[in-house]
Amino acid sequence: MNRSLMRKRPAARRRIVAGLTLSALAVGVLFGAGGASASAKVTITVTDYWAGGHGLAPLIAEFEKKYPNISVQEQYVVPTTYSPNLRTELLAGNAPDVFATNGGTGQGNSVIAIAPDLVNLASAPRAQTAVPTAAHNLYWRGNKLFGLPLGAGVDGIIYNTDLFSQFHLKVPKTFNQLLGLCRTIKADGKVPMAVAGNNATFSFLEPAANTVYGPQPNWNQLRRKNKVTFAGSKGWRQAMSEFQAMAGAGCFQPGATSAGIPQVSSMIATGQAVMWAAPPVAIGAVMAANPNFHAAIYPFPGPTAASTRAIIDYSASVSVNKHSKHVKQATKFAEWLASPAIDRQWAALNGTVSVADNEHAKLPSNLSAFLPFIKAEKTVVLPYLTFTGTVFNDVLPTGLQGVLSGATSGTALLQQMDRGW
C-alpha cells in the first residue's frame, strides 16, 4: 500500500477500511447463512410441564455431556396453560424446538391434532418399538409417527401410605368398599378423597374405565360412528352415579366444588386428605411440596372386583417442531429422551413407570396393585386421549363442577358431552 497515499488522502483510507470491514462481514454472513458447521455449538429449546416444575436438569446435563455440541434450554410451563401457549407459539412461528405433547386427539397439544407442525419420527432408530401396540393409534397416522411416548403411567387413586398404615386402612376392591372407606376415614377426622371441583375429570373418568371401557374397549370408536351416545350409555350413566355417590357419601372435602388443584395438592402434601384420583404426575407435584410424602396408587375399584380395570396412561410424549431451525439436533434429543434407559429416569422424576417397564410388568412396589391387572390384560388405555371436540377440555371441567354444586344434573351433563363431541 502507498504510505504517502494513506497519509495524504484520508478519504481513501476510509474507503479502504470500509471495504475490508464489509468483506469481513460478507465472509461471516456467508458462513453463518450456511448453518452451523459441524463443530459449532447449537442450542435447542425444550418446553414441558413435567417433573412438578423441577425440570429435567439432571437429564439435560447427561445429554449435554454425551453431545457436547448441543446445548438444551428448558422452559417449564404450568399444565393449565401449556396447551394454549403451545398452540399460540405454533401459530406465531416461535414454538420451541422440542416440546411435550400428549398422545391421541383429546387435548390441545395432542400429537394427532397438531400433526402438521410435527416432524415425522418414523425413521427414528427405535420407531417401530417405541410405541406399545395398545397406544399405536395415539401416535401413528398411517406410516407417520408424530411423537415418542414417555412413561406409561397407571392411573388410579393416589393414597398416602403412612396414613393408611396409621389408621389401619385397606385398599378397597369394590366401589361399595371405597364408599365404606370414605366413611371410615371421615370418622377418623381426615378428608377421604380430595377433589378439585373445577377440575374433577379424573374422579369421573376413572369409574368410567370400569363401567364403560371394561365391557366396551372400543367405545370411543363407536361414538365416532354415532353408534352410541354418552347420555344413552348405561355405563356412562353408572359412572356418573358413582361420581355423585362419592360426593353424597362425604368422600370429598368441604368446599370441594370451588377448590383448585393447588389447594388439593396442598391438602395431600400436608396429610389433611388421604386419597386423590389423579394421574401419577400429581405425585411429583406433591413431593415437590413435601419430599417426605409416601404414596402408592391402586386402580379405581369397579362395581365388582372382576369388573375393575387398570388404566394405562400413555399420554405423555415428546415431539419435534417441524419448523425448527435445528431439526436434526432436536430430533436427536427427543429420541434420546425416549430411549429405554433415559425414559426410566424420566419416569422416576415424574412418579411413574417407563414404557418398557410397564410392558414387561416391572412396576415399583408402590404400583404393585396394578400388577395382577397388567398380567391378566385387564387394562384400559386412558379414555380421554381419543376424545374429540370440546368434551375433555371444556364440557367436563365446568360440567362436573356444576354437578357437584347442583347447577347441572348428571343427565344434562351427559347430554352436553354428546353435543360437545
Binding site: 398452540r87 399460540t88 390441545g108 391434532a113 368441604p254 370440546t390 365446568t398 356444576g402 347447577a407
Partner: protein
C-alpha cells in the same frame, strides 16, 4: 394509513369468523354457520345473557356508589385526599391479582366464612364461588369493589366543574339539600354521568379477568361471559373460527350499547 394499521387486525379477525379453523390446518369458508351456532348453542346464549345481566347491574351500582363517594368526598373533609386515594387504589391494581385475593376470601375455608362463623352466622357459610345462585354476583362484588373508585373519580371531576356559588345561592334561597342535588347538581353532572356510564358499560361487557380467576366460568357455565367463551372456544377448544365469530358478536354488542348510551345520554344533557 393510520386507520389501516388500527383496523387491519380487526378486519382479518372478522374474516376468520366466517371460517372453520383449528389454528393448525388451513381455514375453510363456512359462511354464517358460526353465527347460527352462537345463537343456537345454550352455553353461548347463556354467556350473552350473563354479560348483559352483569353489565346492567355493574353500571347502575358502581355509578350510584361512585356518585355517593364523590359527593361525600367533595366536601371539605380533613382526610378527603387520603380517602380519595384509598378508594381509587384498587382501580390501578391488576384485575387478576385482585381476583385471586378475593377468591381466597370467598373460598369455603376463607375469611368470609370465618367471619360469618365468628359472628354467630355459621349457618350462612357457603361455597360462594361454586354456588350457582351466588357465583355471578360474587364476581359483581369484586368488579364493583375494584371500579367504584373509577366512577368516583369521574364524578369528582364533574363536581369540580360546578361553581360553588350556584349551590350556595340555591341554599340561601331555601332549597333543601335533596332538592339541590336533584335539580342542580345531578343535571350539571350529566356530562360526567355520560362518560362514566359509557365506560362502565364497556368494562362490564368486556368482563374476562375476574371470571377466569374467580370461577373459570363455572359452576356449570353459570358465570360464563362472552369474553370468556371467546377465550375457551379459541384457545382451549382450538375453534379459532368460532371464537372469532364470538369476538365479532361481542364487539358489535359493545359498539351498539356504547353508541346507544352516548346518543341517549347526550340528548338528555342537551335537554337539561
Amino acid at each position: 394509513m393510520i386507520l389501516a394499521f388500527h383496523y387491519a387486525a380487526v378486519l382479518s379477525g372478522a374474516w376468520y369468523a366466517f371460517t372453520s379453523w383449528d389454528g393448525v390446518r388451513s381455514p375453510h369458508f363456512v359462511g354464517f354457520s358460526n353465527f347460527r351456532e352462537i345463537f343456537q348453542d345454550p352455553v353461548a346464549r347463556a354467556a350473552l345473557l350473563h354479560s348483559v345481566e352483569i353489565t346492567a347491574a355493574f353500571v347502575v351500582i358502581s355509578n350510584v356508589i361512585g356518585l355517593a363517594l364523590a359527593l361525600a368526598l367533595h366536601r371539605a373533609v380533613k382526610t378527603r385526599n387520603f380517602l380519595r386515594l384509598a378508594f381509587f387504589a384498587p382501580v390501578v391494581m391488576s384485575p387478576l391479582a385482585v381476583s385471586y385475593i378475593w377468591q381466597f376470601i370467598f373460598q369455603y375455608t376463607g375469611p368470609l366464612n370465618g367471619l360469618l362463623a365468628g359472628i354467630g352466622l355459621g349457618s350462612a357459610r357457603n361455597d360462594w364461588l361454586a354456588d350457582p345462585t351466588f357465583a355471578l354476583w360474587m364476581v359483581l362484588v369484586v368488579l364493583i369493589w375494584q371500579f367504584a373508585g373509577l366512577t368516583m373519580t369521574f364524578y369528582l371531576a364533574g363536581l369540580q366543574g360546578i361553581p360553588d356559588e350556584l349551590d350556595e345561592a340555591a341554599a340561601i334561597d331555601g332549597a333543601s339539600g335533596w332538592f339541590r342535588l336533584r335539580k342542580l347538581t345531578l343535571p350539571l353532572l350529566a356530562p360526567a354521568m355520560t362518560v362514566s356510564m359509557t365506560f362502565t358499560a364497556i368494562l362490564g361487557l368486556r368482563l374476562f379477568d375476574q371470571v377466569i380467576a374467580l370461577t373459570g366460568g363455572g359452576p356449570g357455565s353459570t358465570t360464563e361471559t362472552l369474553a370468556t367463551r371467546v377465550y375457551v372456544d379459541t384457545f382451549v377448544n382450538s375453534r379459532f373460527g368460532y371464537g372469532a365469530a364470538l369476538a365479532l358478536v361481542l364487539t358489535a354488542l359493545v359498539a351498539i350499547v356504547a353508541t346507544s348510551q352516548l346518543i341517549v345520554l347526550r340528548q338528555r344533557e342537551r335537554r337539561l
